[in-house]
């Protein structure tokens, strides 16, 4: 089974803030991490390999330093890693990103492609399903459990808003996974050392035969017009006094706002 896992390096969003005066990002010392959902995607790939055999290739599209993310994935146990890096990829929106990734996946050849549910920088959750469309294969989003996997089909649970669906698919298929699916393993010291030395393939736009008009900013239908800070809450009210007084005050406030009857 050829398994390809798509991972993204993201700033640890918890620490990205906007300067309300200048409307710019403050990002001093914010560390880069593998998108948390993608850690679960890697783990899911490794578990499938352990169950039915095969090879796990991790890929990422990003600037040269995204190589660190790939090495981290190798240290968890991935077999191979590909970095898609090219100035021409810059400015990609989800459409162009999924097109680019799909070209690389075609070159590698895959039976199962696994993505995280969403990347925590953009929070779009679109790249997985869009990529499936480019590859003309089915997808199942928000997979929380792989119930069964055989040589010619798999059965998974898809998390929905009020429960889950049980879905069967043929191969090739693309899955996006939620955090509930597994607990990502920690790399061993030995595998960390090996990952440090591993050779990582670097592919540019021409290596994957991408159409120039479909990549990067040029290939992106959407444009970011501007960014700004969310409005801060200014109407905070602390309710003081004894617990009785606090609760009484809360009830009064809620009744005033017609939220309680």
């Amino acid at each position: 089974m050829n398994i390809v896992v798509c991972i993204k390096q993201v700033p640890d969003t918890a620490e990205v803030k906007i300067n309300p005066e200048t409307n710019t990002l403050i990002r001093e010392g914010v560390p880069s991490i593998i998108n948390p959902f993608d850690m679960h995607a890697i783990e899911a790939g490794l578990q499938i390999r352990e169950k039915i055999g095969g090879k796990v290739t991790v890929i990422t599209m990003g600037p040269p330093q995204a190589e660190t993310a790939l090495r981290d994935a190798l240290s968890m146990g991935a077999d191979d890693a590909v970095l898609l890096t090219d100035r021409a990829f810059a400015g990609s929106d989800t459409w162009a990103t999924s097109y680019t990734l799909s070209k690389a996946v075609k070159k590698i050849g895959a039976d199962i492609i696994i993505c995280g549910k969403q990347a925590i920088d953009g929070d779009t959750a679109q790249v997985g399903p869009e990529m499936a469309e480019f590859l003309n294969i089915p997808h199942v989003a928000y997979v929380k459990k792989v119930e069964d996997i055989k040589a010619d089909f798999l059965r998974v649970q898809r998390m929905m808003d009020s429960g889950y669906d049980i879905i069967e698919s043929t191969f090739p298929v693309l899955l996006t996974v939620v955090k509930e699916i597994n607990e990502p393993r920690l790399p061993s010291l030995k595998s960390k050392m090996a990952a440090k030395k591993a050779v990582i393939k670097k592919w540019t736009s021409s290596d994957i035969g991408a159409d120039e008009d479909k990549i990067g900013l040029k290939g992106s239908p959407t444009q970011v017009k501007n960014i700004f800070a969310p409005q801060a809450k200014t109407d905070r009210k602390m309710l003081n006094g004894t617990p009785e007084e606090q609760v009484e005050a809360l009830i009064q406030e809620l009744r005033r706002l017609k939220c309680l009857s």
Partner: protein, 402 residues
């Protein structure tokens, strides 16, 4: 297009360095330099006090004929034949957009009977494209995306909106990929730019720390998923009339098969994303029994129970209740945070709630920064009292009303 530095204007003040989310600006020979990490996100443009960072013009791409695309469409999702409330919210905002564009508002409904289409008309749709084919009764990505994209190809709407729900976020991206057009995820505000007639799509990014306005100027339709519970519903008019256009779905196939739809059965389980009131508990509950107390309050005032990740990690409650960056994003009218410290990963999932009530022992807890009403105290004192007082209040109400 790319971002460049006007070296004559650059004073080397380094103001721009930290504005870049991708570490793409460095100082070389005393001036700012943009390296190959640049993702052309434009975040640095406004950071420069000298206006020395400039964007070069985007080359004109083949313009679509925007004139050919008319009308605002709303994808109305149904679950077990019931139209999801987000569809009515989409009709609310869709009506406003259609008015600004002086065009029609239509809804698309799959796998529901004609009565569902009538309901959409009463909520504001001028037309409803309806397929009552039973293959659409349960949601399946491929059939849904095939039929919706073929309808869009046939009728050329200029805007297509869907709910940012599990269903919408799963299959709408396929539609956008097929149609070679942009899609903006999880919007919280939509407006029309009066000059260009383009749709301004506003959404949170970077875990809610930043808002972005997204445009899709050169492709049609302009597509967006919209966060549930953010838009106001349209006006309901029982006598409103509209047109129902039956659509045929022939030769639609799928490589995935939905074998079973399992409802998570739990007394307290309500779809968090649709709940008006959410009572969330965190590590401050101290034990799983704490959630029983929250459930009691929830039962009393008609709310759902949520949690922080810490409570999920402790095994006190299942993951489906988790609110936050790696859980659900919610936007109820009232959000109770009980024994939750307010880590940013939690805040991003709930800070757009209308009213936030924080109950925490620690007056310094960051949750108070986003709270509408803050109570410093022990939740095990406050909540039982609250339950008691609400019960008393209702008793009095009852006797007063005879």
């Amino acid at each position: 297009m790319s971002v460049i530095i006007n070296r004559d204007q650059c004073t080397g003040c380094e103001e721009c360095l930290t504005s870049c989310p991708f570490d793409a600006i460095e100082i070389r020979e005393g001036k700012a330099f943009i390296n190959e990490n640049c993702q052309i996100c434009m975040a640095c443009l406004s950071a420069c006090p000298e206006d020395a960072i400039i964007e070069t013009e985007k080359e004109e791409t083949a313009k679509i004929d925007a004139q050919e695309y008319k009308g605002v469409w709303v994808f109305a999702e149904q679950r077990e034949g019931n139209i999801a409330s987000v569809a009515f919210e989409l009709l609310g905002v869709g009506r406003k957009l259609a008015h600004d564009l002086n065009t029609e508002l239509s809804a698309v409904l799959f796998g529901a009977p004609e009565s569902g289409a009538q309901e959409l008309i009463r909520w504001g749709a001028d037309k409803v494209y309806l397929s009552n084919n039973p293959i659409f009764e349960t949601f399946n990505d491929e059939p849904y995306s095939e039929l919706l994209s073929s309808l869009i190809k046939e009728y050329h709407p200029e805007i297509v909106l869907a709910g940012a729900t599990a269903i919408g976020r799963s299959f709408i991206p396929r539609v956008a990929a097929k149609l070679v057009t942009g899609l903006t995820a999880d919007c919280t505000s939509l407006e029309i730019d009066k000059e260009t007639r383009n749709l301004l799509q506003i959404r949170p990014a970077f875990g809610g720390n930043i808002m972005a306005t997204i445009l899709c100027p050169n492709n049609r339709p302009q597509m967006a998923t919209v966060r549930p519970r953010v838009m106001k519903r349209g006006q309901y008019n029982e006598n409103r009339e509209g047109e129902i256009i039956p659509v045929k779905a022939a030769g639609i196939s799928s490589r995935t098969m939905v074998l079973e739809t399992v409802k998570e059965i739990s007394d307290i389980f309500v779809n968090l994303q649709e709940a008006d009131i959410i009572i969330s508990g965190g590590r401050g509950l101290g034990n799983p029994q704490g959630f029983k107390l929250l459930e009691e309050l929830a039962g009393l005032i008609g709310g759902a129970v949520g949690s922080s990740r810490a409570a999920v990690d402790e095994g006190w409650i299942s993951y489906s209740h988790q609110v936050g960056q790696t859980g659900k994003t919610v936007c109820p009218k009232i959000y109770f945070a009980c024994g939750i410290s307010g880590a940013v990963q939690h805040l991003v999932g709930m800070q757009s709630s209308d009213i936030i009530i924080a109950i925490n022992k620690n007056p310094e807890a960051p949750i108070f920064n986003v709270a509408t009403f803050g109570i410093v105290g022990d939740l095990y004192e406050i909540i039982p009292l609250l339950i008691k007082k609400i019960k008393e209040m209702r008793e009095i109400g009852k006797t007063a009303n005879g």
